[in-house]
C-alpha cells in the first residue's frame, strides 16, 4: 500500500506556479505556457519535440507525470464559425437557421469550405501527476499535410496505445512509431474519419438487408441532414462579469485547489 501524495518531509504541496515553472524547466524550454482557466495548467509543445518533452516530464522528479489520463484529437477546421449570422437576420422566420453558412455537416453547394488553418489537427494530452497531485494539459499540433502525422507516445506511457488508435480512427491522425495502428471504434471496412469537421453528422452510407441479393448492402444515405438549432456565437455581454472576474483571478495566479 502506497500513498503517492504522502510527503515524508511534510512539506506543503507545491503551488501551481512553482509546478508550472518546473514543467517549463523540465521540458528544456520547449513547452510554452498556454491559456487555461484559473487553477489549470496548459502547455503547447512543438510536434518535433513531443516524445522528448513527454519523457522528461515523466522522469523529472519535480514534475513526475506517471499517468496519461486521456489523449484526444481535435479538428480546428470550423473553429469560431457560426451557422447563423445574428446580425440583421430577424426578419426571415425560422428557416433562416436551417441553411447555415458553414454548417460543418453540409457545405453549401458551389461554396467550398474556407482554407483550413495551417494547423488544423492537434492532439491533446491530459496528464496527471499523482505524486504532486497536479493535472497538466499538453497540446501538440500535427505536422500539416494529409494525413496529419505526429509521434506516438506509447513508449512513454503504454496506456496511450488505444487512445492513439482511437484518434487515428476518428481523425485520421497517423501516430509515427505506434506498434499497432488499426481502427478501433468504427466498423470493419469503414471509410473516412468520422470526427473530422468535414465529415457529415449523418454519415455517407446506410445499410439495409437486400432480399434480392440476400445479404446486407451499403447504400448512400437517404436522410437529409437537418440543423434544428443553428450554431450561434454570441458576443454579447451576458458573461462579462464572470469573465472579468476569471481573468482577474488568472492574472493574480491564485494557486487554487486543483480541479476544485
Amino acid at each position: 500500500m502506497s500513498d503517492p501524495t504522502a510527503d515524508p518531509a511534510g512539506a506543503p504541496p507545491d503551488s501551481l506556479e512553482a509546478y508550472a515553472a518546473a514543467v517549463l524547466d523540465a521540458s528544456g524550454g520547449r513547452a510554452v505556457r498556454a491559456a487555461a482557466l484559473a487553477g489549470e495548467l496548459a502547455f503547447e509543445v512543438p510536434a518535433a519535440a513531443l516524445v522528448e518533452v513527454c519523457t522528461r516530464l515523466r522522469d523529472d522528479e519535480r514534475v513526475h507525470v506517471e499517468t496519461l489520463i486521456d489523449l484526444s484529437g481535435i479538428d480546428y477546421l470550423t473553429f469560431g464559425r457560426d451557422e447563423w449570422s445574428t446580425h440583421g437576420a430577424t426578419g426571415t422566420g425560422f428557416s433562416r437557421g436551417v441553411s447555415g453558412r458553414y454548417a460543418a455537416e453540409s457545405p453549401p453547394a458551389g461554396e467550398a469550405l474556407p482554407e483550413p488553418a495551417a494547423r488544423r489537427f492537434a492532439v491533446v494530452y491530459q496528464l496527471l501527476s499523482l505524486r504532486h497531485n497536479r493535472r497538466l494539459t499538453l497540446r501538440a499540433y500535427c505536422e500539416p499535410g494529409e494525413p496529419p502525422v505526429i509521434d506516438s507516445v506509447v513508449e512513454v506511457w503504454p496506456g496511450a496505445n488505444w487512445f492513439e488508435r482511437e484518434a487515428f480512427d476518428l481523425f485520421g491522425i497517423l501516430f509515427r512509431g505506434h506498434p499497432d495502428l488499426r481502427r478501433i471504434l468504427t466498423d470493419y471496412g469503414f471509410i473516412g474519419h468520422p470526427f473530422r469537421k468535414d465529415f457529415p453528422l449523418i454519415g455517407h452510407v446506410e445499410v439495409r438487408y437486400d432480399p434480392a441479393k440476400r445479404r446486407v448492402v451499403y447504400e448512400p444515405v437517404s436522410i437529409e441532414p437537418r440543423v434544428l438549432v443553428p450554431r450561434v456565437i454570441r458576443e454579447d455581454s451576458r458573461y462579462e462579469a464572470t469573465l472579468t472576474a476569471r481573468t482577474a483571478a488568472g492574472a493574480a495566479a491564485t494557486p487554487g485547489k486543483p480541479n476544485g
Binding site: S2, R81, P158, G159, V229
Partner: protein, 417 residues
C-alpha cells in the same frame, strides 16, 4: 506425429460473459491464452460528435447512456465541465444532493458489478441479492427524476429540482396481499430522504450477506486469488484508475485527493488492496459499498437540516420557473431563448473529472463561444482498463478470461461511446 500449433478462438460479441458486445479474439495454446485482441466499437454511437451538433443542455441525457450503470456520475463530469467554463458556483444543497446521488450511483454500479461478476464465475445467488437492493435505489432515481436509469437530473447550475417530500408507494394488486403491500410501503411513508435514510440503516446488513456468500467461499477464492495480478507501477503506466488502481495498492481517489461537490465535508475512507489480484479488487469494491453508505448517511442528515436553493438563479443559464413566466415578460424571453438557442459558453477549454464507480470519468470540453460544444471528449475509465486486459489475461486459462473481464468492470456504453 501431428503438428501442434496455437489456435484462434473467437469470443463474443454475443456472449453472456462478454458484458455487452465485446468481441475477443484469443490465441490459445491448449487452454492457455497466449494473446488477446479485444475488438470494440460494436456499440459506437458517436456520442461526442452528436454532442457537437446540439446545445449544451441537450447532451446531458447522452451522458447517462455512456456508462449506463453509473448514470449520474457521467452527468456530473459533464455539467462540471460546463460550470467551469461558465464560471458559475453551484448552491451547497445541490452539491450535497449530487454527492448523495453519486454515491447512490456507486452502490448501484457496484451491485450490478458484484452480481454480474458472481454470475460470470459461478455464483448465482448474489446476483439475486444485489438486484433486490438495486430496486430500492432505482426507486430513488425515479422519485427525483421520473426515470429509473437515465435520469438527466444534474443540470449546469445545480440539479433539476429539489428532493420530493413524498415517496411513490406500491398500489394494492391481486398479486400481493395487504400485509405484503403494507410491509413494502412502510419505508415509503415519509419523504425521499426518510426512505434513503432507512436504506442506509439496512444496507450494511445486506453487504454482510453478500460477503457471507463470497468472501470466504473457497470456490470464489480459487477463481479470484492470484488471478490477473497488476503491479502498482504497471497500473499507473497503463492509465488505470478507480478500484483497479486501488486494488493494486495505490491510494488514489479523486473524492479525497481533488475533492469536488461536497466530498471535502464527508468522512470516509479509501480502501486499498495489497496484491492487485481479482480478489483484492473484489474486496476494495465491497468495502466501497460500505463507505458509500456512510457518505449517503451523512448527506441525508445534512440535507434534512439545511433547506435551500438547488439551482443558481441566473436565468441566462437556468430556465425560469413556470409560474414566473405567466406574468413576467423577461422570464418568458429567457425561457424562449434557452429552449430555442440555449446558452453560449465563453470560448475556452477545460477538463473536469469525477471519481466514477469504475474509475476516473472525465470530460474534456472545448468551446469556441457558441451555443454548442466545439469538441467534447469523454474519458471513460473502462477504455484503458480494457486495453490493459491483454496483459492481464496472458498466461491464464480460458476460464479466467471471464473472471478478468468481471474484475475490470467494463460497460460498453462508455468504452465505445
Amino acid at each position: 506425429m501431428a503438428e501442434i500449433r496455437n489456435f484462434t478462438l473467437n469470443f463474443g460479441p454475443q456472449h453472456p460473459a462478454a458484458h455487452g458486445v465485446l468481441r475477443l479474439v484469443l490465441e490459445m495454446d491448449g487452454e492457455v491464452v497466449q494473446k488477446a485482441d479485444p475488438h470494440i466499437g460494436l456499440l459506437h454511437r458517436g456520442t461526442e460528435k452528436l454532442a457537437e451538433s446540439k446545445p449544451f443542455n441537450q447532451s446531458i441525457g447522452y451522458m447517462d447512456r455512456l456508462d449506463y450503470v453509473s448514470m449520474m456520475c457521467n452527468e456530473h463530469a459533464y455539467v462540471r465541465a460546463i460550470e467551469k467554463l461558465l464560471g458559475i458556483e453551484v448552491p451547497l444543497r445541490a452539491q450535497y444532493i449530487r454527492t448523495m446521488f453519486d454515491e447512490i450511483t456507486r452502490i448501484l454500479n457496484h451491485l450490478m458489478w458484484l452480481g454480474a461478476h458472481g454470475l460470470d464465475i459461478g455464483a448465482m445467488t448474489v446476483f439475486l441479492y444485489a438486484f433486490r437492493e438495486r430496486e430500492d435505489l432505482m426507486d430513488c432515481y425515479e422519485a427525483v427524476s421520473g426515470t429509473r436509469m437515465h435520469a438527466t437530473y444534474y443540470r449546469p447550475g445545480g440539479v433539476y429540482r429539489d428532493l420530493p417530500e413524498k415517496m411513490p408507494q406500491y398500489a394494492p394488486s391481486k398479486f400481493r396481499s395487504r400485509r405484503e403491500i403494507d410491509r413494502l410501503n412502510q419505508a415509503r411513508s415519509g419523504s425521499l430522504l426518510d426512505f434513503i435514510g432507512d436504506f442506509t440503516d439496512r444496507f450494511p446488513k445486506c453487504v454482510d450477506e453478500y460477503e457471507t456468500l463470497l468472501t470466504d467461499n473457497r470456490i470464489w477464492k480459487q477463481r479470484t486469488v492470484n488471478i490477473a495480478v497488476l503491479s502498482p507501477e504497471r497500473a499507473l503506466a497503463l492509465g488505470c484508475t478507480g478500484p483497479v488502481l486501488r486494488g493494486s495498492g495505490v491510494v488514489w481517489d479523486l473524492r479525497k485527493k481533488q475533492p469536488y461537490a461536497a466530498y471535502d465535508r464527508m468522512d470516509f475512507d479509501i480502501p486499498v488492496g495489497v496484491n492487485g489480484d481479482c480478489y483484492d479488487r473484489y474486496l476494495v469494491r465491497v468495502e466501497e459499498l460500505r463507505q458509500s453508505n456512510r457518505i449517503i448517511r451523512q448527506c441525508v442528515d445534512w440535507l434534512k437540516q439545511n433547506p435551500g436553493p438547488v439551482m443558481v438563479e441566473d436565468h441566462k443559464i437556468v430556465p425560469p420557473r413556470r409560474v414566473e413566466m405567466k406574468g413576467d415578460m423577461e422570464s418568458l424571453i429567457h425561457h424562449f431563448k434557452l429552449f430555442t438557442e440555449g446558452y453560449a459558453v465563453p470560448a475556452g477549454e477545460t477538463y473536469a473529472a469525477v471519481e466514477a464507480p469504475k474509475g476516473e470519468f472525465g470530460v474534456w470540453l472545448v468551446s469556441d463561444g457558441a451555443n454548442k460544444p466545439y469538441r467534447l471528449k469523454a474519458r471513460a475509465p473502462g477504455f484503458p482498463h480494457l486495453a490493459a486486459m491483454e496483459e492481464l489475461v496472458r498466461g491464464h486459462m480460458l476460464a479466467d478470461v471471464t473472471a478478468v473481464m468481471g474484475t475490470i468492470d467494463i460497460v460498453f456504453g462508455e468504452i465505445d461511446r
